[in-house]
């Protein structure tokens, strides 16, 4: 081939290749059924390779499910250890690249509906497709329901309390079986733990990446407050309760110097410190201990949990949340039913999937955590799950007894939560990094900004 001819062929091949490549990018490759007529569904949130035990459990479950349902094929997809890391989730959602059955947080419901990428599954969300559906907590179901339409299936729920390192408690001369119940007790315990030295913080707190605002909200609930007014139009934290939240933190940070020198912590930062045994207490949900061990190299035997502290007595509220699965718009009826069947098996059947405590115990995973509590108290499913949990529990019952025996009313996140949290991050970071920060001024500034945000959101 002569050189000019070769160049011409190369140029045309390049252009054609690029064109075909782009065309390939734009086509969807989802199949509804394979050659054997099996219904195929793709499902995300498969554990990543580093989570060996969880991955093995997932793969075993897929195998068992497919054996029991020879007409269904599950294609699993892993999307990282944090299955709905907000920026990744939003990008996947708006790019339309979610799996057929996709994971999301309770707080994502509005975003999922707005994107137009999920389908209304009201007609299918029943006990014909999920045998335990009638036993699932009404509150959990309601969080995935908007205007009477069901958009998702709840698969986990949580509420926050005080997660603490009982090994550090013992070293500091505190009783590991009796966690602090008020913020004043938290402050005392934090001082004693920080006195251990070696870079150990008595109490850890978030203040960046919107997590500071999230925890401010949880702590505001503990005081009996709420971040926005009942009609959702005005900020409602610039009051005595909001002041107490920030003042408690400021006192621990600067008056007591019991929160360590590293601040501006985000989700992973605090759990990294926890995994390294460098933090005594923080506000979190029971599964924080799972994250500390499976993602941040901590040890189960170090951790225990108490209820959310209150100001002068028991907390008046705590923040609750959860997760679930949505269904991608455009699925066939067979695919929806197959997806529901899978979720019923993996997430909502006592003794199977996430409730297969015999298997979890065998793998050395933590069994006996008080949450999720997805079933209505007194229902057959709740009793079955409770009995299995007690029979197979491998954690000391007293580690979570204080949390379990002192239930706190659960409150949910406000609308426009992420925008509000971003603003409240600023107040939290000011209090935790600037010894001269003024609590009243920070709250006033945040209040003005949240009011401005809510006014714009209402337009």
């Amino acid at each position: 081939m002569s050189v000019p001819h070769f160049r011409r062929v190369a140029a045309i091949a390049l252009a054609a290749g690029l064109g075909l490549g782009l065309a390939a990018c734009s086509t969807k490759g989802d199949d509804e059924a394979d050659a054997a007529g099996k219904t195929i569904i793709t499902v995300d949130c498969m554990p990543v390779g580093a989570q060996k035990n969880l991955l093995q459990a997932w793969n075993d479950d897929v195998k068992a499910f497919e054996a029991a349902n020879p007409d269904i094929k599950i294609k699993s997809v892993s999307v990282g250890t944090q299955c709905a890391n907000p920026p990744d989730f939003t990008a996947r959602l708006n790019g339309g690249s979610m799996t057929d059955v996709f994971y999301g947080y309770m707080t994502d419901v509005q975003q999922v509906i707005d994107s137009g990428q999920a389908m209304d599954i009201t007609a299918y969300a029943n006990k014909d497709n999920i045998p335990t559906w009638d036993d699932v907590l009404a509150d959990a179901k309601n969080t995935f329901t908007k205007d009477g339409k069901v958009w998702g299936i709840p698969t986990k729920n949580y509420s926050m309390g005080l997660v603490y390192n009982k090994t550090l408690f013992a070293k500091a001369g505190l009783d590991p079986k009796s966690p602090p119940k008020t913020w004043a007790e938290v402050r005392d315990a934090a001082k004693k733990i920080a006195a251990l030295g070696d870079g150990v913080a008595g109490y850890g707190e978030y203040s960046s990446g919107n997590t500071g605002g999230w925890h401010f909200t949880a702590e505001l609930f503990s005081q009996g407050g709420t971040p926005v007014s009942a009609d959702g139009k005005k900020a409602d934290f610039n009051n005595d309760m909001g002041k107490k939240v920030l003042q408690n933190l400021k006192d621990m940070r600067y008056a007591d110097n019991s929160m360590g020198s590293r601040q501006l912590l985000g989700w992973g930062d605090l759990l990294t410190l926890a995994g390294a045994g460098k933090v005594g207490m923080f506000v979190g949900a029971p599964d924080a201990t799972t994250a500390i061990v499976t993602q941040f190299q901590g040890k189960y035997e170090d951790w225990a949990m108490g209820p959310m502290p209150g100001q002068d007595g028991p907390a008046k509220g705590t923040l609750g949340g959860g997760e679930g699965y949505f269904f991608k718009a455009g699925l066939s009826e067979d695919q929806i039913k197959a997806g529901l069947k899978w979720l019923a098996f993996e997430k909502l059947t006592p003794g199977k999937g996430q409730f297969d405590y015999v298997r979890a115990k065998g793998l050395g995973e933590q069994v006996g955590l008080p949450q999720p509590q997805l079933f209505t108290p007194g229902s057959a499913s709740q009793k079955a799950e409770f009995d299995l949990r007690k029979a197979n529990g491998n954690i000391a019952p007293e580690d979570f007894a204080a949390f379990e025996n002192n239930p706190v009313p659960i409150k949910f996140e406000p609308a426009n939560a992420q925008g509000i949290y971003a603003i409240l991050d600023s107040a939290m970071s000011a209090i935790l990094t600037n010894p001269n920060a003024n609590v009243d001024a920070e709250l006033k500034k945040a209040e003005e900004k949240v009011n401005q945000l809510l006014a714009q959101a209402a337009k």
Binding site: L18, G19, S207, S208, I423, D425, T433, N434, K459
Partner: protein
């Protein structure tokens, strides 16, 4: 093509049939296209890439900035997104921070590489070694370099690298990223360290193009090093300096990875919130891709405006 045959004989007469005279202009055009086929082929590759990965997203961004998607339905909302984004509580904070970073980066990030290049150009020994040394940070992935700064250099305790150094020479330590006043200077320092290698190499190339006679003449006239820099080096590299200044401003205005990694986003008391980080917040945290698109368009217009004014001023000087 239909084939003309003589009825009943099957004889093809198509080739002998009288043809209308060919249009000479069309023939010329066809020949030109054929002659340039290779060029068009290669051009198509670039055009397809630009069209899909640059122009289409840009146009789509502008279109999205005038739309709003709710419950899967997209409607035209005029200037509503712009109104919402301009009234966002962090809008002016983000612009103020971004401009502050740009100014600081011009002072530090622009001047330092130039003077380092002049210095390196003066060395007679170990030239290659020194050039590799200054270019090394560029080869480090930006995220890794920033994590080094975050956890090693900017650790606010006395164990942090910079604090240990300050303490060793008897200077007061700093809270670095935990201090609203230090956030921007610390980000500029990290950013300059990460990026100056590329700029230094460009300046070095420009410096080596300056004829040696000019320096000799200046020396004969009794010019010291400072006079030689101001009267020979800077005028001779003015074109490249001016281009680099514009590129630097355009790049620093798009400040994002530094706040994201060093300051976990907004930094303490919003001291690190940049315009691009605000776009990211709206697009990926607040379910407001349309507002994010509007802010992106505002940024685009601002940068086009700056570039146009800058180019005009430069043209006038020429």
């Amino acid at each position: 093509m239909a084939i003309a045959t003589v009825p009943g004989t099957g004889i093809d007469v198509g080739s002998q049939a009288p043809q209308p005279p060919a249009d000479p202009r069309r023939a010329r055009r066809n020949r030109r296209i054929k002659d340039n086929l290779t060029g068009y082929g290669f051009l198509a590759g670039a055009v397809i890439c630009f069209a899909f990965f640059s122009w289409y997203p840009m146009i789509r961004g502008v279109v999205m900035s005038f739309q709003r998607t709710r419950r899967g339905e997209t409607t035209w909302v005029g200037w509503d997104n712009y109104d919402r984004i301009i009234n966002d509580p962090s809008f002016w904070i983000a612009w103020k921070n971004t401009l502050y970073f740009t100014v600081l980066a011009l002072i530090l990030g622009y001047a330092v590489p130039f003077f380092l290049a002049v210095l390196l150009n003066e060395f007679r020994h170990a030239k290659g070694y020194l050039r590799v040394l200054v270019y090394l940070p560029v080869m480090l992935p930006p995220a890794s370099a920033l994590f080094l700064f975050k956890y090693l250099a900017y650790d606010p305790s006395d164990a942090g690298l910079f604090n240990a150094m300050l303490k060793a020479v008897g200077l007061p330590t700093s809270q670095w990223m935990q201090s609203a006043d230090m956030t921007m200077p610390a980000m500029v320092l990290a950013s300059t360290w990460m990026n100056m290698g590329g700029a230094i190499l460009i300046y070095l190339a420009a410096l080596q193009n300056i004829p040696g006679e000019l320096y000799e003449a200046a020396e004969l006239d009794g010019a010291g090093i400072w006079r030689r820099i101001t009267n020979v080096t800077i005028p001779q590299t003015r074109l490249i300096l001016s281009l680099m200044a514009m590129l630097q401003v355009v790049a620093t205005m798009q400040l994002f990875i530094e706040p994201l990694i060093l300051a976990n986003g907004a930094g303490t008391q919003d001291s690190a919130t940049s315009v691009v980080y605000l776009i990211y917040q709206h697009g990926f945290f607040q379910n407001d891709l349309n507002g994010a698109a509007a802010l992106g368009v505002i940024m685009l217009v601002a940068l086009i405006g700056f570039s146009a004014v800058y180019a005009r001023l430069n043209a006038k000087q020429d």
